[in-house]
């Protein structure tokens, strides 16, 4: 049975690397724009004192935008980590099921097909066993 096809994850390709490159270029451009605006307002503030309020508001805007960007980045990374953890669990489960079915075949028990209820029963059984062992191990530690 092919387990990797069950859990599809896009492979890192040249196109994805290009997308990441464009993302970082855009971030640098955004920083340049914000820096230019703050610097321009500062230049103006030297001729008209009231512009220091605009400088302060612009600096506040820069901080707000950067915080928002950082928060998005952290949220995306958390999501990716959870996804990876679930994938490891599923891969381990399928590997264990394959071993179980191979032993069963040797003993003459036929391997259940995907559309049979036995398939899902065994899948859930192995998953639950795995989770119980993990939580027991965590409690013992």
């Amino acid at each position: 049975m092919e387990f990797d096809s069950l859990i599809s994850r896009p492979e890192p390709t040249r196109l994805r690397a290009f997308g990441r490159f464009i993302n970082s270029v855009c971030f640098v451009l955004l920083l340049i724009v914000m820096g230019t605006v703050v610097y321009g307002l500062f230049l103006r503030a030297q001729w008209e004192r009231s512009y220091f309020i605009a400088v302060a508001i612009a600096v506040f805007g820069v901080i707000a935008l950067l915080l928002g960007l950082a928060q998005q980045e952290i949220a995306a990374r958390d999501k990716a980590t959870w996804r990876a953890m679930a994938e490891w669990q599923l891969k381990a489960t399928y590997a264990k099921l394959a071993a179980q079915w191979a032993e069963g075949e040797k003993a003459g028990i036929p391997t259940p097909t995907v559309d049979s209820s036995a398939y899902y029963e065994q899948l859930m059984e192995v998953l639950i066993q795995d989770m119980q062992r993990t939580s027991e191990g965590a409690a013992a530690r």
Binding site: G40, L43, R44
Partner: protein
């Protein structure tokens, strides 16, 4: 499957701020390009009027872009939108 990201207030505000930066870029770029010769022109707008103009025109950009994610790429689009709105306002002599 969810096909649209949807509008949220954080997205709205992030794109609003980005569009305001684009608007201000159009306002202050002449100051930087004329840097060796200080710009003493008296018709440079007051800071509060620029802020009000930027805030109100950028509302349109924020309303339209409020369903975009908050990434550097999408924020750059909002910056361009804000700059374009300022140029439109100047051409129509709104401020």
């Amino acid at each position: 499957m969810q096909l649209e990201l949807g509008e949220t207030w954080p997205r709205f505000f992030a794109h609003w701020i980005a569009a305001c930066f684009g608007h201000f870029l159009k306002v202050v770029l002449p100051l930087i390009t004329d840097w060796p010769f200080p710009l003493l022109s008296p018709d440079f707008p007051r800071s509060w009027s620029v802020l009000l103009f930027a805030g109100t025109t950028s509302l349109l950009a924020a309303l339209i872009n409020a369903n975009l994610p908050v990434t550097a790429r999408e924020l750059l689009k909002s910056v361009a939108f804000g700059m374009a709105l300022n140029a439109t306002g100047e051409l129509l002599k709104l401020a």
